[in-house]
Symmetry: C2
Subunit: 397 residues, 2 copies
């Protein structure tokens, strides 16, 4: 452990926490000291995973825990605003999961609460933390390849057929591809664009009534001054863009190219929403591998990614891959490799530590998350109205 580790508490031991667990369990810059969750089973597992940690039944109790300086809020979306307010009021720094909220007013309330309390508010993990996108962003900023003019983001996955709780299939409750998946793609695109989006025209609809929520969308974002992006997402479990990433999956691990349709096949045995929720529950924290397994696992073979991304500059196309950035320049095509990752999603802790220990304002701030939420809401509004939506909360990206 580092000399002055970040004293972290975790609010909510659900799916988002499970995805961050390998990071929390392994990063020596963190001291995971406490949690809050209503499930006793999960709390018991947590205190085994993090010996000496305190387990609270409520987020309020966690916020009052003097051992903790920062809280990772991974509770259900609709509770984010209350929990961020509680943490800020207690003077704790906050890392809050995406989607930050489902309404701009809630985002603003979080930004205001953080500002008033003088704490750092970071929104994530999203895939815009992934090192290859950050590297491509740095290349664009460097200016060597001229201005960025077009960003192409295409992701085909089996998102819609992974086991879900009923609310995850209800757009009004923050379910579906627009709240769950689009934030990743929007943030990757915003990161590479490096300036405020001006408008969005999008389409999205429910294809599979049995799932009840949008599993796909198309969007064109205009950043003005000759820069635009197309965002295509299809989570219906057919074609998979991991084929274009040498069969490296979203989490940076190898996939079996011969396997097909496994998500849909697994769901086929499920006949009720309760059975499906139970199937998901089997993967919940406390039921399977935990921090000890995460600590024993080998380093991840590659970085996280979110599908095919191409940033077209005037003098080069940059293509982030799970291992670096392919540079297709005027005179040469070359691969710019990144050092192999040691800890998955360590980039989130990089940003958290830079903020808390060095006072570096985070890129993925509350304002950043609010801008993404505005685009998600505008995407839905454009899809419903068939009209282009102007954006007003994009700050100076």
């Amino acid at each position: 452990m580092a000399a002055d580790p970040i004293r972290l508490g975790v609010a909510g031991l659900g799916r988002a926490f499970m995805l961050m667990l390998p990071t929390l369990a392994r990063d020596p810059r963190l001291a995971v000291l406490a949690c809050a969750d209503p499930r006793a089973e999960a709390r018991a597992h947590f205190t085994e995973d993090f010996p000496g940690a305190r387990a609270h039944g409520t987020v309020e109790a966690l916020c009052a825990d003097p051992a903790v300086e920062a809280i990772y809020i991974a509770t259900p979306h609709e509770l984010h605003v209350a929990h961020v307010r509680a943490a800020a009021a207690a003077g704790k720094h906050v890392l809050v999961e995406k989607p930050m909220a489902l309404a701009l007013a809630d985002c603003q309330a979080m930004v205001d609460a953080a500002g008033e309390a003088g704490i750092h508010l970071i929104v994530g993990h999203s895939h815009s933390f992934d090192a290859p996108y950050l590297r491509a962003r740095d290349m664009i900023r460097g200016g060597e390849h001229g201005a960025v003019r077009m960003i192409t983001a295409v992701n085909f996955t089996d998102y819609l057929y992974r086991p879900r709780r009923p609310e995850e299939l209800d757009t009004s409750q923050g379910g579906g591809a627009i709240f769950s998946q689009a934030p990743h793609q929007i943030e990757v695109v915003r990161l590479l664009a490096g300036r405020p989006a001006r408008s969005i025209r999008a389409t999205a609809s429910v294809w599979d009534r049995a799932r009840g929520t949008e599993g796909a969308y198309n969007a064109l974002i205009d950043f003005g001054d000759g820069l635009s992006a197309t965002l295509t997402y299809n989570g219906h479990g057919h074609f998979d863009t991991d084929e274009f990433q040498d069969w490296t999956g979203e989490m940076g691990t190898p996939r079996d190219a011969a396997a097909y349709g496994t998500a849909r096949a697994a769901l086929r045995h499920v006949t009720t929403p309760e059975e499906e929720a139970a199937l998901k529950e089997r993967r919940a924290y406390g039921r399977g591998p935990g921090a000890m397994e995460a600590r024993a696992a080998p380093p991840p073979p590659a970085y996280n990614h979110f599908g095919l991304v191409l940033a077209s500059c005037e003098h080069a196309d940059l293509r982030p891959t799970p291992r670096g950035v392919m540079v297709y320049a005027d005179d040469e095509r070359r691969f710019d490799p990144l050092p192999a990752p040691i800890i998955p999603r360590a980039e989130v802790i990089d940003e958290l530590q830079a903020a808390l220990r060095d006072g570096t304002p985070p890129l993925h701030s509350g304002e950043w998350g609010m801008a993404t939420t505005e685009i998600c809401l505008a995407l839905l509004e454009s899809a419903r109205s068939g009209r282009e939506i102007q954006l007003h909360h994009q700050g100076a990206a």
Copy 2:
């Protein structure tokens, strides 16, 4: 030769003709009997290539040639309307190259002239003739995979750095990616959509002032009722989507995966527009290989294509490739192979013959071409105004 071949005349022995020459030279359903071109050198070569054919100095003389029943009009864009009118007035059927015209009034004039004369008017070649797209269209129409909901078309090429005459780099004269390249992608998307487009929102701008015209665009086309398409084109010679087609090029022939930046490198030795035009001229008809070489060539290894195309239906993604259609269905992923092509672009002659010999109304009719021209013009207008453009001439696609 077939029992009753189509008695064809060719108007214009330029680049479009060169690209159709392998078809014209090899398809036994054609009797190529005459041509018209102002260049004596090209006419002389033509009469060697097609023994017994008559070579005229003007399109008017070709139209008066009683031996000819149909004319392939491959003259410069701005002459299409006059030449289609002349051919129709002479009672000749017409195959006219894309772009059909640069103004809707000109398209309408061609449609009207064909209607009044009672001749068939076909617009092409465009890549929407390519057999794999036609096969995917048939699969969609068959309904087995449910309704088509999203079409994704992405093409990255070196288009802008191929040798050009000055007018090919002037958008107002029909140069640039929107008039030269977008018609292919728009027609592939329209073919797969199978119904009229309603609106388009697009972006396009000049990235390389030395080339002076748009080399890239982004577009979102809304077909209404839950179907939309994203069209992304970048012709700046960096990333190349042929990488996603097993390095099969646009014309269905293998490419060298190790070669990079060859178009831009070849242009680097050119310092004036005159030198560049001369470079292009070296590839003109009469200077190099002709029909004899085309006849001696082996059958093409694969079909033409226009980049990555995915048609997402409710129960399958269909991915046309240069050799067939990949079907990513609910339960299985399978490849639907097409028989290897025998004659390149024979699909154009299929449609011509069906119209002239069987009276089958062509898919790629004047109205079809007019609808594509409207979308090209709307793409430019949307890019310039920053607004979505409603479409009014899309017929019943």
